[in-house]
């Protein structure tokens, strides 16, 4: 489908596929990003056709570098794309601040995929505010067709303005599918050349720099004004509804679909209208003035923070003479929540209260019995590490070593599958968890508090991909400041959380191409940290090692726990051991064990026989790692190596 030539044919596409197709229709040449749900499939889709479509696609070390890589493409005159999840924009923002001043050449589009409601994130950050802060155009597709069409348009818009354009998606578009009519592919392979010998102030031929700042900044703001003018007539801004609506809804993105649905559900399309904006920064003033003037009540529907709401209110205030008084409904007055994702029900509720239309989604009686039945009969599905996951074994050893040490040591967590160690899956070992690489930065700080009497051992964990992304500078900081901390690198050879994208430690690239790999252990040593390695599947030895490193070593230390992810292509479906439980030896819930393996270790491959309390192996689920045989205090779990 991605390279289908059937122009005009309709396909059911996932939002991220639609975006990838849009980029291909625009003739994108360079695409870079850092994996993060819900954004990853855009780069993955492009990578899957990279050789055929003459693209350069890479998973970069982090979002900032990916933006720089994409910018280089643009500086050389190519159309380039950069993709990341919402919080990635924060990482990239330093470069972005300067990029928007210098401007771009080939069409350049930055696509953040926001995750309102934090469905697969540890934050519900807003990338939209960056567009305003950085003074660049912001586009928000309202459905799947627009996801494709607006992506395509964004490239030419960028070229027309000479600056990067932000196109923001959200989980409910990126990870949803809808009908999309394909357009024509652009399969030219343009030549790349970076021109720099022109006049210093010439945006097309001079060096690409931010100085002189006042000059460039003025230019940049000019571009934004031009964008606003262009947006006045954009087909992606549409009004649907009566001429003088009782209620005007202004919305964008997936919220457009929720709003339209709400009006239909309440059968109130004749009373209320929707101004659906595809270009949400800068706002096209004339278009808004026209619609605001025709309404007295305005409901602004958007996700998380009142971004549109604030901007519209400023515009309304500035034009109060022509628009007149308006009663606004939105986040600030509490009509809609300013946390969590939107859904049709929120919007239905808002409209029904504003227009006084009674609505019951679910009869109270039904809701109550549904909740009780679901609570009592459908056991909660708690998240856990996979069977055979090395993280379970790693945390087992780290947790036990810290307990043995007995000095209230703790672990600063980081972002990846291994963040789940805040849950019972990882024995609750993690005590702080924030952003990429910050576990080690925080630990670096904790490790300097000895002079204030803090004697707790400080440990941080970090995945291999996260280490490259933002863990490295934190380690450099810890080494340089001689912080007393231990960084445990949970090296499972891949970006497992988001689906095994390669990272610099892996000898292959986004399209499966062969690449040199960067050695984590070598880096740590050369940074100057005392560096150790361990195999987390050897639990006794790893526990001993962690304890020794905590107690007998001082200063910045690194322990690399190396063991491949259970889902990795090399491991999946291949058992190292056949494992079984001897029920005659198993102590089950008796004093002397109390179900250590099923109750505490909790590998899903171990099943508790509810009648006897004894353990059994579920052959289908067990991945054959053999670790449970080492933790059983009774020697009841037997393992034998599978002949290869």
């Amino acid at each position: 489908m991605l390279l289908s030539k059937s122009e005009g044919k309709e396909f059911l596409l996932m939002g991220n596929q639609a975006i990838a197709r849009g980029a291909l229709e625009a003739g994108v040449s360079v695409a870079a990003g850092y994996p993060g749900t819900p954004s990853s499939e855009i780069i993955e889709n492009l990578a899957s056709v990279a050789p055929e479509a003459d693209l350069y696609v890479e998973w970069s070390v982090n979002e900032k570098v990916s933006l720089e890589v994409a910018a280089a493409g643009s500086f050389a005159g190519l159309r380039s794309l950069c993709v990341m999840k919402q919080n990635g924009v924060n990482v990239a923002s330093d470069f972005l601040l300067h990029l928007v001043l210098s401007g771009t050449r080939g069409g350049m589009v930055l696509i953040p995929c926001d995750d309102p409601g934090a469905i697969s994130s540890v934050n519900e950050g807003e990338s939209r505010y960056f567009a305003r802060l950085m003074e660049i155009p912001l586009l928000e597709p309202g459905d799947f067709q627009e996801a494709k069409d607006m992506t395509k348009w964004a490239f030419s818009l960028s070229e027309e303005l000479g600056n990067v354009v932000m196109l923001r998606s959200v989980t409910r578009l990126s990870h949803a599918s809808g009908n999309v009519k394909l357009g024509a592919l652009n399969r030219t392979k343009p030549a790349a050349k970076f021109n720099f010998s022109g006049n210093l102030l010439d945006a097309k031929t001079g060096p690409v720099i931010t100085a002189p700042v006042p000059f460039r900044h003025t230019q940049q703001q000019g571009k934004l004004k031009k964008a606003a003018a262009l947006f006045e007539t954009s087909p992606f801004n549409r009004y649907e509804g009566p001429e003088n609506p009782e209620l005007l809804i202004i919305t964008s993105s997936a919220c457009y679909l929720y709003s339209r649905e709400a009006l239909r559900v309440l059968d109130t399309e004749k009373r209320a209208g929707i101004l659906k904006l595809g270009t949400t920064w800068p706002l096209p003033p004339e278009l808004l003035k026209k619609h605001l003037a025709a309404a007295e009540k305005v409901l602004i529907v958007e996700e998380v923070l009142p971004f549109l709401e604030e901007n519209i209110k400023i515009l309304a205030m500035e034009n109060i003479d022509s628009i007149g008084k308006i009663k606004f409904f939105g986040k600030n007055d509490g009509t809609l929540p300013s946390v969590n994702e939107m859904n049709p029900d929120y919007v239905i509720k808002a409209i029904s209260s504003i227009l006084n239309i009674p609505y019951t989604g679910m009869p109270e009686e039904y809701e109550k019995s549904g909740q009780i039945l679901s609570f009592t009969k459908s056991p909660n599905r708690e998240l856990t590490f996979c069977p055979g996951c090395p993280h379970r074994a790693s945390y087992w050893s780290i947790n036990r070593a810290l307990t043995l040490n007995g000095e209230n040591g703790f672990v600063c967590g980081d972002i990846g599958c291994y963040t789940m160690a805040i849950l019972p899956a990882g024995f609750g070992t993690i005590k702080t968890a924030h952003s990429m690489g910050s576990g080690t930065g925080v630990a670096s700080g904790f490790g300097k508090l000895k002079s204030f009497g803090m004697n707790q051992p400080v440990v941080s964990v970090c995945g291999d991909s996260t280490f490259f992304h933002a863990g490295m500078p934190a380690l450099v900081n810890a080494v340089h400041n001689n912080s007393d901390m231990l960084l445990v690198i949970l090296d499972n050879s891949g970006t497992a959380m988001t689906g095994f994208q390669p990272h610099p430690g892996i000898p292959s690239g986004a399209a499966g191409n062969e690449l040199p790999s960067v050695d984590i252990e070598g880096i740590c040593r050369s940074i100057g940290a005392k560096t150790f390695t361990a195999d987390p599947f050897n639990v006794a030895e790893t526990e001993k090692k962690v304890l020794e490193i905590i107690e007998n070593e001082r200063g910045p230390r690194v322990l690399i726990m190396r063991q491949g992810c259970a889902l990795s292509p090399e491991k999946k479906g291949k058992k190292k051991y056949n494992v079984s439980v001897d029920s005659n030896i198993c102590k089950g819930s008796d004093c002397g064990c109390n179900r250590l393996c099923t109750r505490v270790f909790r590998c899903p491959g171990l099943v508790c026989d509810s009648a006897t309390g004894k353990a059994m192996i579920d052959e289908i689920i067990c991945a054959g790692c053999g670790v449970c045989a080492d933790i059983c205090p009774s020697g009841a779990i037997k393992r034998s190596e599978v002949a290869l």
Partner: protein
């Protein structure tokens, strides 16, 4: 067909939920319908519940989330998931086709939580909806050669209810776009099996 027709496919990571939703969605899109699928699969590989919302309409695209209480058909690849979905999106008239094979949450495996017996679950479901059909899709899938085929059987069962304008040929063409040539027949077999089974559900 009610327009929009709201379908929820629910299950657990690894059951082929997303694929089932796309097969069903593509079949209907081929028949000229607007289809919107909303997926929640962030934690799918790690034992969590996975849910897809499908909106089918002749008129236009609908939002990727079904409003509370407004599902018309629930396809449960895992039995207790149907109950969870009913509590949020159910109503008396919703139709349910559910697989009977449980996938135990880790809390149940560990012995901390209880999993209801099927008759028990069936009566709980019956308190919330009038037409729930349980079929042993996993068992049939294993008989056909692979447990993963249970998702195709469930799609077949949904088609067998006759609520949706699903055309067998359209389904076949979607299957052939998604699986290797050699696997088309077995998938069609699973689909037909599901259609048959839904008329003769498990009795409790």
């Amino acid at each position: 067909m009610i327009d929009p027709f709201n379908i929820i496919i629910t299950g657990v990571g690894g059951q082929g939920n997303v694929l089932a939703a796309r097969m069903l969605g593509n079949t209907l899109a081929k028949a000229g319908y607007y289809v919107t699928i909303g997926e929640t699969f962030g934690a799918s590989q790690r034992g969590g519940s996975v849910m897809s919302h499908l909106r089918i309409s002749k008129e236009s695209a609908w939002s990727p989330q079904i409003p509370k209480g407004k599902a018309h058909l629930i396809i449960a690849l895992e039995p207790v998931e149907s109950l969870r979905v009913l509590a949020a999106y159910g109503n008396r008239d919703v139709k349910i086709v559910s697989n009977t094979r449980p996938i135990y949450p880790v809390g149940v495996i560990c012995g901390d939580l209880a999993y209801p017996s099927l008759p028990d679950l069936n009566s709980a479901v019956a308190q919330l909806c009038d037409d729930a059909r349980f079929i042993n899709a996993t068992e049939e899938a294993v008989a056909l050669g692979h447990p993963i085929l249970s998702n195709v059987i469930m799609v077949g069962a949904a088609a067998g209810l006759g609520l949706l304008p699903i055309d067998d040929e359209a389904f076949k063409s979607v299957i052939s776009e998604n699986v290797p040539e050699s696997k088309i027949e077995i998938n069609m077999k699973a689909y037909r099996k599901g259609k048959e089974m839904v008329g003769d559900p498990v009795k409790f």
